[in-house]
């Protein structure tokens, strides 16, 4: 599980994240919904220990992201959107093995796991070919296998479908669903409501570095008496116009 406590990040002039509190239970998918520049990536980077919080902290399966960063990284897998970040001159297998080894996997366990992932993601044909000439969809699958190879209990997704066509986006969404079925704790950031509605149990709306509303989709609908899409526009859009 993830417990975020007063997390804050100040870059030189910008206060990107202004002290947020959130918790995500095991087996739960939390959608972090916000528009461009809201602070989603910054929040997820702090959780992944790549950025050091200015204030506050978070516990990931009880491990502190500030005090115990190395241990935290063993608990998480990340899939950040945009470019996929594979090594073109390595084969699919080598790309995945690299991350497996850096996550301290035993050789036998690693091989078993890679075989399993190659099968369920249907990558068998091209596991030993260099990634350079792969299509975007093929690369996406390798990236998925790479982020999950060490079977982390917590997954962080930052706009993982941005820039993907419908088919590739569907592969990613299917993957997130299967993570959920496996009982992982998941945070998933997005700026499209539709995707959040499709995948998430709970949603937190982030705006200018603050959580402006959080709750499960159903109870939010009841509370405000309107669609979550409209609610999002109301909470974020109007303030935006000022």
């Amino acid at each position: 599980m993830i417990e975020i406590k007063g997390l804050k990040k100040v870059f030189k002039e910008v206060e990107a994240v202004k002290g947020i509190n959130l918790s995500v239970e095991k087996k739960e998918v939390l959608g972090l919904l916000g528009e461009n520049g809201a602070g989603k990536t910054t929040t997820l980077r702090m959780l992944a220990t790549m950025l050091r919080p200015t204030e506050g902290t978070a516990l990931i399966n009880g491990k502190d992201i500030v005090a115990d960063a190395n241990a935290v990284r063993q608990e998480i897998g990340i899939l950040f959107g945009g470019e996929i970040g594979l090594y073109d001159r390595l084969t699919a297998r080598e790309n995945i093995e690299y991350f497996a080894m850096l996550n301290n996997m035993e050789k036998e366990e690693m091989n078993r796991r890679i075989e399993y992932l190659a099968e369920i993601l249907e990558m068998g044909d091209y596991m030993d070919r260099r990634v350079g000439q792969f299509s975007k969809g093929m690369k996406q699958k390798v990236a998925i296998a790479r982020c999950i190879v060490h079977n982390p209990p917590v997954m962080l997704f930052d706009e993982p479908t941005s820039g993907l066509d419908v088919a590739a986006a569907r592969v990613v969404q299917q993957f997130i669903r299967s993570c959920k079925e496996e009982g992982k704790t998941i945070i998933f950031s997005s700026h499209t409501m539709a995707e959040v509605e499709k995948l998430c149990d709970r949603v937190a709306i982030i705006h200018k570095g603050r959580i402006v509303e959080a709750g499960d989709l159903q109870s939010l609908k009841v509370k405000y008496g309107k669609d979550v899409e409209d609610l999002f526009v109301e909470l974020v859009g109007e303030k935006h116009e000022i």
Binding site: M50, R73, Y87, L102
Partner: protein
């Protein structure tokens, strides 16, 4: 730690860069080929020049009266007097190398025992013409000597009377050392080797440095990499070692290039040059510390850069920076280098290499140079570590 993450990173990066043909070109192909090629081309030019100089040099003599000199020159070996309707055009075309203008009253003056005027006209642009002129000059001088001898004999004077000294030359070679060959080859050697040992760590390591720092950012693989179970320092160390190895390979391949080059063309490099084991050790030591320092600097600059292109822009001036001390010291006298110059980083490395190449082993210079360079290495490594831990460098936007 059960797993050595540094080794995992090191092995992966090596595999990665050696699958890249740019690495092969920059660290292996160019260094191995550049010197043989350079020497081969220089040799070609030189051989050509030698050939023309060995055949008879065509000259043209402009004189109105018969005289002894014209006759002497047409007899002397190595010169051939040619006739030409337009000698100056022929000189410009290189068909004639020198035009000799002999004064009208030359023969008369000779007989009066007064200096006779001669003018040598040559083409200043042509190397061959300049060299031909000195050959003609020598021929005229020996003509003069013959005349002189005749005149002295006529006066009953022994020519030796006019030669009070007889000078011969010998280079001093300290006991236990060997001759370094002539001055030109010493200069070539003491310029070329330090130049290579300074420059090739950068030439060899640069493609790797760009790819492992900025390249990782550019393909967006840095974030996933940093979020693995490995800690940052192991990742950094693995990358650093890869660049260091590429640098060292660059140095080794360029030195092998020189060795190959000397096989191609033996007279371009000093013959029988022997570098003593101590000197060799010191040279290797300097090159290694340079590689240690420069790998760190290149990696930190590359990590700071946003893209490979930006990294390339920042890194290429380093090559010029390293050329400065090698050119500055090109004409410096190795015997009288002031001690204070050894406190100047980079310059001291070049100077020390120049010294040990001619077997000057000065413990003070060695100690100063190595301790200063060691400090620089440590600073470079600390700087690399600082940059790699700096959020604003890694996530620069």
């Amino acid at each position: 730690m059960k797993y050595n993450h540094t080794m995992i990173v090191f092995k992966k990066e090596l595999k990665d860069i050696f699958r890249d043909k740019r690495t092969w070109i920059a660290s292996v192909l160019i260094p191995v080929l550049i010197f043989p090629l350079m020497f081969f081309l220089m040799g070609l030019g030189k051989a050509n020049l030698d050939k023309t100089m060995q055949s008879d040099i065509p000259i043209y003599i402009e004189s109105t009266q018969e005289n002894q000199l014209t006759e002497y020159l047409s007899r002397s070996s190595g010169l051939i007097v040619v006739d030409s309707a337009s000698p100056y055009e022929a000189l410009e075309k290189g068909e004639i190398k020198v035009i000799i203008q002999i004064d009208e009253d030359f023969q008369a003056k000779l007989e009066e025992e007064k200096p006779g005027g001669i003018k040598l006209i040559f083409d200043e642009i042509s190397n061959e013409s300049s060299m031909a002129m000195s050959v003609v000059d020598r021929a005229i001088a020996s003509f003069g000597e013959e005349i002189l001898k005749d005149r002295l004999e006529a006066l009953g004077i022994n020519p030796e009377v006019l030669q009070p000294t007889s000078v011969s030359y010998e280079a001093y070679v300290p006991e236990g050392q060997e001759s370094k060959g002539d001055g030109v080859s010493v200069m070539l050697l003491t310029f070329l080797l330090p130049f290579l040992l300074m420059l090739y760590p950068v030439v060899g390591g640069m493609p790797a440095a760009i790819d492992l720092g900025a390249g990782e950012k550019e393909r967006m693989s840095l974030e996933p990499l940093l979020s693995t179970g490995a800690n940052r320092m192991s990742i950094l160390l693995g990358k650093y070692l890869t660049i260091l190895l590429a640098s060292i390979i660059g140095v080794i391949t360029s030195l092998s290039g020189i060795l190959i080059a000397t096989r191609f063309n033996t007279d371009m490099l000093p013959k029988g040059v022997k570098i003593s084991p101590v000197s060799m050790l010191i040279m290797i030591g300097i090159s290694l510390t340079m590689a240690l320092m420069l790998s760190g600097i290149m990696l930190s600059i590359s990590i700071f850069a946003k893209s490979s292109k930006e990294a390339g822009t920042y890194l290429s001036p380093i090559t010029f920076l390293l050329m400065i001390p090698t050119y500055l010291t090109m004409f410096m006298d190795v015997r009288t280098i002031p001690n204070k110059l050894f406190f100047v980083p980079l310059l001291n490395a070049v100077l020390l290499m120049k010294e040990v190449l001619v077997d000057i082993i000065n413990p003070v210079h060695i100690a100063i140079t190595f301790s200063f360079t060691a400090v620089l290495v440590v600073l470079a490594l600390l700087f690399t570590k600082y940059i790699f831990n700096k959020e604003s460098a890694i996530f620069r936007s």
